[in-house]
Subunit: 361 residues, 2 copies
């Protein structure tokens, strides 16, 4: 088998050793005579996996006991609703920093539930090319929370410096850059991420949330949609996505074996530098629309002189084993998602292809 | 490897050929150079799986175009909330038939959202040993819907004849007996099931719902919690649990290869007859608390003369490779969940063990 160079935006590339382990253990898990998929979520074999996933995450990030770690279904999109349902108390308003379609969706969902507004919006003609400056934020000091999207998968922007929001609880959707580098959990009241980009397969959202925030949340909403329900039951209130949690456990273990988040950050910075370097060598042909300071280390977007060339690029790249380079339908152009599991060799292969393509274009 | 005899209540036994296929395809899916887990949910490779899962389900059950088939996250427990949020219109009430803890939970969730009541309740001292008779139902002809749980995993009861509910839409939680035999979808407005008992791994709920009911549902709820959102986007509004849908596709294909639901029903009836036959041969020792007409073909529960004996039974059975026989914590006693993928050989092994245990007890 030749592994494809996988630049999918999510679900995305997973580390080969993690896939090989899943393969080895698929039919027979730890000598139990059955697959992990067949184990009860209340049995010892699965519980071992479940709590190891939590403890590895706590260890890698450095998450204190002031925070609950939750493994929930429904992806980040369900979080958009749950956040507002749980935290938008009557009479309160929430502030959203708009930097792409995911933050727009999060705000739209919140508006269906309570009072919420954009406290920043960097869109121009419906497109985003940067995150806002501190001066552009109009944070309501009484807001229930401030919500931001740390990395914008579609438009290829990323917050490289966290905004200052005073004492308002800061909530971050980290779906597309969770664990790409170390971060200080104590600066956030809550972070969440769909697993399917940096840390596992789809069907799982990881939520890290101040226990205090959970305790203070609304009680007048359905039980299954309360964070307290899941925190009180260690994400075992109802049957969780056991396979996805198993895969996340294995990815986290793999990340630890690579040296943890600091080592992974170096790896990611090197990959991003290589790819942006290639774009910048020929910026009239490979045009990155994102402002330099907002460039994402996870999703690198660029345009070619014509859409015809972009189509040809995608087709020929796919033939050459470089997969997932078409830009999001709302942004157009080209995009390479270079999450944790994408190797430097894949970046090199992409750059070599770009160079060849340039010659024939 | 020796396969355990797996009587887990869910997640539960899966067909060995389905697990072996998942193993074969885990690292390299259909010659694409990557795992299915790494494929975009918007790419051709995954879409093939997604729509085949739907078409196989339509074919096996016989589901007309009047119904939408949805693959949702959050399990049956999220359905408890979504059903009421979508269908409990202002001024309306819903009727719930209480036959176990899952129907109780469904009602409790509905009461947090709107007006709902028990239209039947067969509990005695908090336990259930039968489903109600038609005469015991007090259906409100103006109800938004009637909700029932076709099979009660905890107490081992099952509806063998559907109640008559007039023209009120009937909604059935089939989590623990979905596809155990053929059924007439046209008698239901909606059926739903967590996948992790009869048709796949955890992390997925399958919903089959009248398109008319979806169209008439409430629009004043979060977008992600509207059935219309998922129906309009063929369950691809946000990233679905792609692996679970792949596994369901494979289980459905396997079921088709076995001869479809009629053949599977015969297989299940034979297994249940064997096991209940063994209990009934020695009813003072192996006491089934469930009324004969309400006995479940999926979850067989029984008691032994003392709790000490029950504990010993579970321990010795586990040592003998018979797994998952402890009753649910709220019911006590013993339980064998004998879903579709549990073989007759496993039933025979259980009966042989019971016979040996009886001699030494």
């Amino acid at each position: 088998m030749t592994r494809a160079h996988n630049f999918n935006a999510g679900p995305a590339a997973l580390p080969l050793p993690v896939l090989e382990r899943a393969q080895r253990e698929m039919v027979e898990f730890e000598g139990t005579g059955m697959s992990l998929l067949e184990h009860s979520h209340r049995g010892k074999a699965y519980e071992g996996v479940h709590f190891q996933a939590e403890s590895l995450l706590r260890e890698l990030v450095g998450i204190s006991d002031d925070y609950a770690v939750l493994f929930l279904q429904g992806g980040a999109s369900l979080q958009f609703a749950m956040i507002a349902m749980n935290l938008l108390h009557a009479g309160k308003s929430a502030d959203y920093l708009l930097t792409g379609i995911w933050s727009q969706k999060a705000l739209a969902e919140a508006k269906l539930i309570g009072k919420a507004r954009a406290a920043a919006d960097t869109s121009v003609d419906g497109k985003f090319t940067r995150v806002p400056t501190q001066a552009e934020l109009s944070i309501d000091p009484e807001a229930a929370y401030v919500h931001l999207t740390t990395n914008n998968t579609v438009f290829g922007t990323q917050w490289h410096t966290l905004p200052s929001v005073g004492s308002v609880p800061l909530i971050a959707d980290m779906s597309s850059d969770f664990l790409w580098k170390p971060f200080d959990m104590n600066r956030y009241a809550m972070v969440y991420a769909g697993a399917q980009k940096n840390i596992g397969p789809s069907g799982l959202a990881v939520v890290v949330m101040q226990k205090e925030l959970i305790r203070a949340a609304r009680k007048d909403i359905p039980v299954i949609l309360r964070y307290a329900t899941h925190a009180d039951n260690q994400s075992l209130y109802n049957t969780p996505n056991t396979f996805a949690i198993y895969m996340v456990r294995n990815v986290l273990e793999h990340m630890k074996s690579l040296g943890g988040l600091a080592a992974i950050e170096q790896h990611n910075l090197a990959k991003a530098a290589l790819l942006y370097g290639a774009l910048d060598q020929d910026p009239d042909f490979f045009r990155c629309p994102v402002e330099h300071a907002s460039r994402s280390t996870m999703n690198v977007v660029w345009r070619l002189p014509t859409e015809e060339l972009e189509d040809r690029f995608v087709k020929e790249a796919t033939k050459a084993g470089l997969v997932g380079l078409k830009g999001h339908r709302s942004a157009g152009g080209l995009r390479a998602s270079i999450y944790n599991a994408v190797s430097e060799a894949s970046i090199q292969a992409l750059i070599a292809f770009m160079s060849e393509f340039r010659k024939t274009a």
